[in-house]
């Protein structure tokens, strides 16, 4: 199964969950239950927005290649010293590296002021990423700017 199919399956699952939730909303008369159902809808919407963005990234990267591979999409090479300049300070963009790929987090909401849960941009954060976000489709939302040398 390629990335496109995985995204499509996840989107279908989300839509089917949303349909169930809407059905339940029609029959529920308890305010607390309604509240929980509305929260669930909002979570599905947030998932959908993330998945659609991932799908777009995947589609734009896979033109002519069939699969999304950030390595084919960006040839700029970074050394650790190069990366350190992109720390988000003094007007510089904020880049981070994960598993050899360098991502732009300058305008990523979770990286306000180029910091994220005590981590700073301009570094290789592979181990930190793995310990917190393993298995989550987080990276697909980020713009790839290059590779680690």
């Amino acid at each position: 199964m390629n990335d496109h199919e995985i995204f499509m399956n996840l989107i279908k699952n989300n839509i089917s969950e949303m349909q169930d939730t809407i059905d339940s909303l029609y029959v529920s008369c308890n305010a607390c239950t309604k509240n929980i159902l509305l929260n669930r809808l909002r979570k599905n919407m947030s998932n959908l927005s993330m998945l659609v963005q991932g799908l777009q990234n995947s589609a734009s990267a896979s033109v002519g290649t069939g699969t999304y591979n950030p390595q084919q999409n960006s040839t700029r090479m970074f050394t650790t010293a190069d990366l350190a300049k992109y720390n988000g300070k003094d007007g510089n963009p904020a880049y981070v590296a994960v598993n050899g790929t360098v991502y732009d987090v300058t305008n990523n909401a979770a990286w306000a002021a180029a910091t994220h849960f005590g981590l700073t941009a301009g570094r290789d954060l592979t181990s930190e990423f793995t310990s917190c976000h393993a298995g989550q489709p987080v990276l697909s939302r980020l713009k790839v700017v290059g590779m680690m040398a």
Binding site: N35, G88, A113
Partner: protein, 298 residues
Amino acid sequence: MNEPNLNCTNSKMRLETASVLVHKAINAIGQNKIKKGNLIWLELTGCSGNIISLLDGADPNFKNLATQMVNFIYDNSLMAAEGESAMEKLFGVIGNDFILAVEGAVSTKNDGLYNIIGRWRGQAVTAFDAIKMLGEKASYVVAVGTCASDGGISAARPNPAACVGTQNLLGRKVIKLPGCPCHPDWFLGTLAYILMFGEPALDDRNRPIMFYSTLIHDMCPRRPYFDQGIFASQLGEETCMFKLGCRGPVTRVDCPIRKWNNRVNWPIGDNSPCIGCAMFGFPDRMEPFISYDTTRKE
């Protein structure tokens, strides 16, 4: 721009959650459908900000809690009893059904010697002892505020008293209500739910999803500025404070709707970035709270 849209069903219902639950619980108690709960509130290693915040509650308020919902057996700041007789009340609850609310972290260094909460039968009782003795026996344990939930400010670097959150010391589920302080609605709504239905639906960090399901960023009245890339470059500008280091995009709680001090205002509504006080890792992992030499504008 700073007002949440209360024509939105979701916002309106969320705002009313605590009030609806508390009044349902009070009615059910009045009709003898359910019993009043016994409540113990322990103030451990913290600033007592959560009990002060609770006193500031408005619809539901503290009077609803103390007179109609629970037998409020122990809280060292509010009770009339003192010394040994107060401790008798505290430990006298063992053997009965009770709900334990904890605020403040637990100091663990030197067997908890850095926080002694009273003397009982001639012996000093540490916060560590109290949480061990009462935490395992309570029908529910609710960590009120960030320190009790995850260590919070009490456990911030360099953490000289080796403070930890309540969950670290108990081999049972602790319902967490992080926030510095905890909003009165979050506690009263959760307590009312427990009295009527038992444990509320929790997320993967044991926070009730009725209050902690969405990011501040999701409901922020300044979100349109973020989406359009219009960012404040200094405090006082009424646009998105992302570039100044706002933690709204990683903080999961409903402040934008509920607001504080009888729903008057909240940090972002007063041009101050969210500092992520309701998120694990606060304060160390939410710093810096404000940044000026930051990324380019795009």
